[in-house]
Amino acid sequence: MSAGMLASINDDLEVVVLAQAVLYGTPLLFAALGELLAERSGVLNLGVEGMMLFGAAVGYWATLRVHGSDASVLVLAVGAAGLAGAAMAAIHAFLTVTLRASQIVSGLALTIFAGGLGLSAYFGNELHLADHPASHEFGSIDVFGLKDVAVLGPVLFNQSALVYASWVLTLAVGLYLARTRWGLNVRAVGEAPASADAMGINVTLYRYVHVLLGGALAGVGGACYSLLITPGWVAGDTLVNGAGWIAIALVIFAFWRAELCLVGAYLFGGLSALPFALQAHGVTVTPELLQSLPYAMTVVVLVLVSTAFAKRRLGAPAALGRPYAREER
C-alpha cells in the first residue's frame, strides 16, 4: 500500500468526520437559536431538553400519520414538531411572563414534564411510535451543485434540507436581531424592560412571541434526531441525550450572537463525531469517556464564562431571568 493511498483514505475519513460534525451540530444550532431568541427578550428557558424530546416524538408521529410525497410529509412533520415545541414553551411563557414565576424553576419543571419520563414518553408509548420503522427521513440534497468540490463538497454541500435551513435561519436571526426594528425592540425588552415599556413597546407580547419561537425551534431541533440523525423513536431520553442542555450552554458560549451559535454548534457536533474518527484511526478509548466529551466541554465553557472578567461585558441581556411588573414600586 503506497503512502499516497493511505493519505487518501485518511482524507476521506476526516471528511466524513467533518460532515458528521455538521450533521450533529444541526439540532444544537436550531435549539440554540431558539434559546437565543427567548433569552434576548429576557426569558431564560431551561426546558429546551424537554421541548426537543417532545418535538422529536411529535415530528416522528407526523411522518407515520401523514401520507404523501417524502418532501411534503417531512415539511409537515417539521411543522408539527415546531408546534409541539411552541406548545410546551407556551406553558413556560404563561408561568414566567404572565404569572412572573421563577424562570429557572419553571424551565426545569418543563424539562421534566415534557421530557423522556414525561409527556413525550407517554405520547410515544401510547401511539406505539417505537414499533414503527421510519417511513420518511431526510436525505442529502445537492442543492448548490457543489457536492463534488474537494473536502467542502461532501462536508457542506451534501447535506439534508434541514442543514441548509439552519444556515438560512442563522442568517435570518442574526439580521433580525441586529438590523430590524423588531430586533431592536426585542433587545430593548431583554436589556431594560422598563425603558422599552416607556417607549411604547409591549413587553409581554414580545416576550411571549420569542419564548414561543424559541420553543418552536427547539421542537425542530428535536425533530432533527427523529427524522435525520437516527430516524425513528425510542423511549426515554436517549434520543436527544442532553443536547438541550448543550444548546443552553452554547448560547452563553456564543455571547448571545447567532453567527457564533453556528460555530459553537459545529464545534460541539465535532466532539460528538470524534469517537468514530478515533476508532477508525485505531485509537481505542473507552466510548463512555468519549461520549461524555461534549458535556465536559459544556461544563468548561460555563466555568470560563462565569468568571468575573467574562461576566462584565459578555452580552448577556441585563434583564435575563427577571420578570417585569409595571406598577411595582
Partner: protein
Amino acid sequence: MVGITKSFPGVLANDDVSFEAAAGEVHALLGENGAGKTTLSNILTGLYRPDEGQIELYGELVNFHSPRDALDAGICMVHQHFRLVEPFTVAENVVLGDHRGEGRRFFVHPPSVERRVAELGRSYRLAVRPGARIWQLSVGEQQRIEILKALYREARILIMDEPTAVLTPQEADDLFGTLRAMADEGKTVIFISHKLHEVKAVADRVTVLRGGRTVGTVNAGDATLRSLAALMVGREIQESRRVERPRSTSDLRLLEVDGLVIEGDRGGPAVKDVSLAIREGEIVGVAGVAGNGQRELTEAICGLRDAVEGQIRVGGRRLASGDVRDAIRAGVAFVPEDRLGTGLVPSLSVTSNVALKSYRRSPFSRGPLLALGRMREAALQLIRRYDVQTPGPETPVRNLSGGNLQKLVLGREFESDPLVLVVAQPTRGLDVGAIETVHAYLREAATKGMAILLVSEDLDEIRALADRILVMYEGELVGELEGATADVEEIGYLMAGGHREPESPQERSGMT
C-alpha cells in the same frame, strides 16, 4: 387633568388632583417627596391608569391604555431614573419604539438614524454623539439623550421628573435654557421638582401638591420662595399636637456625632461634616426632604454604614465604624424607616421578633439552647404593655397592620433600655390613632431619659415632638431651630435649600 385619584396598596398617592398647563409655558409641579408628583406624571404618560378622573388634551378627552397611547398623543416624559437601554447606541435609543419616522422602516439603517439625531442635536444646541453607547456617557449627557428622544418624536408635552437631581449647577443652567427654548416654540414643559429656587427660575406657573392633593396654582412671577415653601409644607398649623414636656435639664450628652462624613450609595459624600449632640431626655428632630443624607446619618449611627471620617460616641464611648453589634452593645436602639423589612423579619413570629436582638444573652438563651418559654412570656408581656393587636405571639409579623408593627418595634427597642434611640419616619403610613400612640411612647421614652434622634419628613410631627430641630440639606445641617417656637415656613425654606439663594428685601416683605 381633572380629579385624578390613584391608590396603591396601602397608599393613596393621588387624591382628586386637578391641574392644567398651557401650550408654550413651563409649568412646575412642586411638592415634597411623596406628595404624588411622580404618580401624577406616570398617569399622564399612560404608565399607570388612574382609579378615577380624566385627562383632557387640547380640549379633547383622552384615555390612555399604555405608554404608546400617550406617546402617540405627543406626551413624553424624562423619568428620574432614565429609561435608556445601556448597551444601545444613542441613535438606537432615540429610534426605539418609534413607528413613524426612521424607526418605521423594517430594516433600521444606523447611518441615516445617526445623521438625523445629529441634526436634531444641532438645532437645539444639545451636544451629542449619536454613535456612542449609553454606558459610556455622563449622567448629564444621558439626560440630553432623553430630551432628544422627546424632540425626535415631536412631543408637544414634555414632562421632566426631578431633572436637576443628577446635574451639576452648570448643566442645570443649560437644561433650563433648553426647556425655555422648547416652551418658546409652543411646546408645554411640565417641570417636577421640590427645589424652590429652580421652580422660581424656570417656571411660568407653579402647581403645588401636598399629601397627594392639589394645594393651588400660582404665577411664578408673583410667588416668593417663602410663599412657595409655605404652600409646599402646609400652612395650617396644628398647634394642638404639641404636648409640652418639661425640658431636660441634664448636661449629659448621650449621643455625640463629630465631623461625620459618609459615602452615599452612588459614590460621593451623602453626609458632609455633620456634628451634633443629644442630651439625656432630649428629642432632636432632623427635618429635610428625603435623600438629603438623613438615611445615611441614621444608618451610620446604628452601625449599618461605614463612616469615612468623624466619630460617633454613645454615652462617652466611641463606636466602631460600621459595626451593628457594637452599636447595640453601646446602647443604640433603632426604629428604621422600613419597619417590616429592616426592623422585623416578616415571616417569623411575634415572639421570635421580640427576641431578635437579645436572644444571644440570658434570659433568652441557656448555653446553646434558646429559652423558648421565656421568649414567649416576654412577647406576651410586650403585647400587653404596648397594646399590640395580634391573634397571638405565634403569628408571623407580616400579618400585622402598620401601626401594630410599629408598636412592636418600639416596644422591643424600649425594652432593651437603650441610651440612644434613633427613629426614622416613625409614623409614615399610620392612621391618626396609631400616630398619637407612637408619639406618646416617644415622649415617654424621653421622659425616662433616652436621647432621641427623630428623622422625619413630616414637619408637623417634628414640631410636635422635638426640643430642637435640625434641618438637613444636601448632606449638611443648614439650620437649627427651637422646637417650641419654630416656624414651619422657615423650616420649609431651609429644607428646600432657600438659604442658598439670597433674597431681596422686597421679596421678604412681600410674604404673607
